[in-house]
Subunit: 206 residues, 6 copies
């Protein structure tokens, strides 16, 4: 660090620059076009909560322990927890208590708050298995439908109902032309499992 980089203004710009890059890395699961399932076990502290809230579905092993730890290090959490935790849960009083006190909370409190949707008895092995089972179910669905659902849900989180309705109508103007619809209906009528082609080599991000 050069001497002038100790100037409080210059340091603030550099720290901000670094934080934006760090956030970008952690938000990779959000940009991934396919839903990402967090399989949480053991101690999920600080950055682990940032990462988990950036995922789409969260399962936790019964041995999980959570903590929004940043206040204990002297800072406001800045890699995503404060941006997403209130939006994915349903008890803001508890979210605030956890963020101000850094206290540990277990899987059942995480479920009560709405942070996770399933408690899996056991540890790493069991929760990964449960996550993979759900992932396998999702993998049998039309990728056009799954990717669209993820994109429209992310839009819904950050926009009004009126805005989101117009958005999904524009989105589906294109997507309802896919052959996946026909495949889905034919498979349903034949009581078979539909099979869908992949999304293509050139498709990489949401």
């Amino acid at each position: 660090m050069d001497n002038y980089e100790k100037d409080p203004g210059r340091r603030a710009l550099q720290t901000r620059d670094f934080l934006l890059s760090f956030q970008h890395a952690i938000s990779a699961t959000e940009r991934c076009p396919i839903p990402v399932i967090a399989a949480i076990h053991g101690a999920a502290i600080g950055l682990a909560v940032d990462i988990a809230t950036a995922c789409d579905i969260r399962y936790a092993a019964s041995n999980s322990s959570f903590s929004v730890k940043e206040v204990d290090i002297g800072l406001a959490a800045d890699i995503g927890t404060l941006a997403r935790l209130p939006k994915v849960t349903g008890n803001q009083s508890l979210v605030q208590e956890l963020a101000y006190t850094s206290r540990n909370f277990g899987a059942s409190e995480a479920k009560e708050i709405g942070l996770i949707s399933k408690i899996v008895e056991g540890g790493r092995e069991e929760v990964v298995k449960a996550a993979l089972e759900t992932a396998k179910v999702i993998a049998t669905k039309s990728p056009i439908a799954v990717v669209g659902t993820k994109r429209v849900l992310l839009h819904s989180r950050d926009h009004s109902v009126a805005d989101n309705l117009e958005y999904v109508a524009s989105w589906n103007g294109a997507m309802l032309q896919t052959a996946d619809l026909k495949s889905s209906v034919q498979a349903a009528l034949a009581k078979k499992k539909a099979s869908y082609p992949p999304l293509g080599k050139h498709f990489s991000k949401l």
Copy 2:
């Protein structure tokens, strides 16, 4: 369909146009100035979830079964479920799991997620009765107060707290001049039920 209507661009515009009209029809309960109570029973699949989330209050019979079915047909739900379901519930992980897997869920999971506010033991008859009882309670209230509450809650859903506070202050600048206030207070003092005139012939939508 004329031949040129098979052009992917033209089809997209026509599908979008149709979806906007379809959404407008399903959102009618939202535009209705009086609260609408959904009395859910049996299988509530796909469009039923779109309709239910556009209502103000949701009760479900214990025999109810829900499914965000659209992914199974090859599309992202586009008539309101993705716009409203995350906003009326409190566990986004579960909302996403349900939207990506199309799996069935019952009344108690619907209650846990916050989708419904009451499980009524039984089926159609019982849940409709419970909904009507609540409707009757609401019908005894000042229509000025009820309509204003619905309008301000809809505004609240799509705006910041600061915006909504200014909005309700402007709204009530007019509404607090109603005679319903006096009637309400007089009735309360006399320990009687207040009675309020209707809203008027020319009032049709929110």
Copy 3:
């Protein structure tokens, strides 16, 4: 009141002016830079709910009874309940039912809806004690971290995830230069309690 002040337009402006001032008073807890814990007991009716929802953390004694009472007086709640109640809870159907019917609900329904984060067995004494215990825990943390967490959570409530991420990066560009970080880490390594200086005489509001 002068005669011309009976003009419906002039009255509306004056009522609006009064309501904005009233809201400003009740929102004082939101502008307070330090988290405010509501310790609710007995009957929390109408304005009490406005006040409670403007706090950061809400505990309720088991003897608490709540009511969004405004509809019974002939008006839509206008001092904050309709702006904040839907944003701090996770069951909009129940929020609406409570707002339209004015019915009483107890601590356990308040917890289920996400309005409070803790039920304390007892009454005033017990809930105040529980609130003070949490307050004491928060008081041991870095004030830079606590104030920043409150400010960023309030911003998060009213902005998109992308907006909030950029905001917290800019905020922490300055705040990560505080000596509180070093104090926190040194204390943690020494397994001692860190001690932090106050925020300064000139700092008064968020």
Copy 4:
């Protein structure tokens, strides 16, 4: 009007209901998928300004005279002028002066403020001719391109740059599949005028 309809609260709801319908009628040009050109001449007073600002392109005959007249009748303009005039022009000080004073202004001041884009020497006949000439030019373009441009510009007016960029990328995901692109390029290479099929019978609104 029934007696109870004189209640200030009930009257406010009815007036609001009427104004929303009136606005909906005047905004018809905005919902029209094809650009609408206002050909202004003579006196454009009050409602004429509401209508003109809801159009996409505005030409004025040199004999035009404008006035935001509503303040002279004792009200704030409520059918669109205050919503749109500041967004289509580039001198807010002048917009405000005109809105508060109701003074007349001519075509050249309207051009200076950015309200119109062309002054046509003459009156009704000349300005309609100029508008039709521009309309004819637009009519030679791909309707997919023109409709998309109108929709994306309307979205741009009411959203951030980041939002609008994502929106147009989603929109064009569908629209770039149209055969109009190929027709356009082939015509350009052959130095001929391209010809495009209509949008289809079922397409009615933006």
Copy 5:
């Protein structure tokens, strides 16, 4: 300043607190319910531009000289210029050039950019006279209409067209009940000047 107030984090909070108070003072003209006309003359440097852009109408004497001076002192303008200047003008390239270079610009460039709406030949005396003439015209109008126009224009600046249309319909639900409408129409028919009562003692802010 106590020693701990030199901590970069604490200083940042205190400076922010001070800036919010400073902004609040300068924005007083925006909260004033009646339009405020800035009569600019001589050198309008830095803070003068913050103040002027917070007014509703801006006139400048021909001897005026403007400068967004803050960059020359080593900071980004933080009392309102960067928030409002781009929103009241119509050439963002020029706004940016002026903000980055701090160069002086005269009344005619200010007019071209849309910052002012009138150049008055002369200096202080002449421009104040012109501002007072406009103020007198506005003072003859219905205060209900003028206050409503200012409020709705401020709302329009910060909201979408759809939002603003709904807002003005709700606003005018109350305001169209004023006796000022009748007075205005009667005066117009009688070709007299209407006279309107004041807004009332208790009305103080927008």
Copy 6:
């Protein structure tokens, strides 16, 4: 292109993905922390307008000719023109006319609309020289002040005035601690040119 990549849904996703990447490349000037000046000359067609509107300051040689050409190729402009052109200019009627007709317009019309802030007599050489002169002036200013001004102006474009005021107060809480302020004031008192250290090696983007 594999066969399944011809599916209209899959193609739409891939095209959208490509457009987002293309937009990201063209928006690089917006992410650059230092202001970027576009020096326009000759024919600025289609993508050139996308690029120019993503810059901060726009100068044009008198030999410049502009065209929003995309409609002529059968598409709505999707790399930034429709997102930014209405926001940097002050005559939306003319913006729309240019976007729907693809007609050429020269430097003086570009200036009138507010698209550019300076017409430089001549061509490439002259306009680049003028841009470099302005760039040199900006380069003499505090980089903390210049970078902050750019960031706050970008925020201002996409947020309300209230939001932007709070943002700049938080931003300057850090930035006013820079030594550049002292250097600026000392230089001004000494009637010398201030000199500022660079921003640091690790600072790369806004």
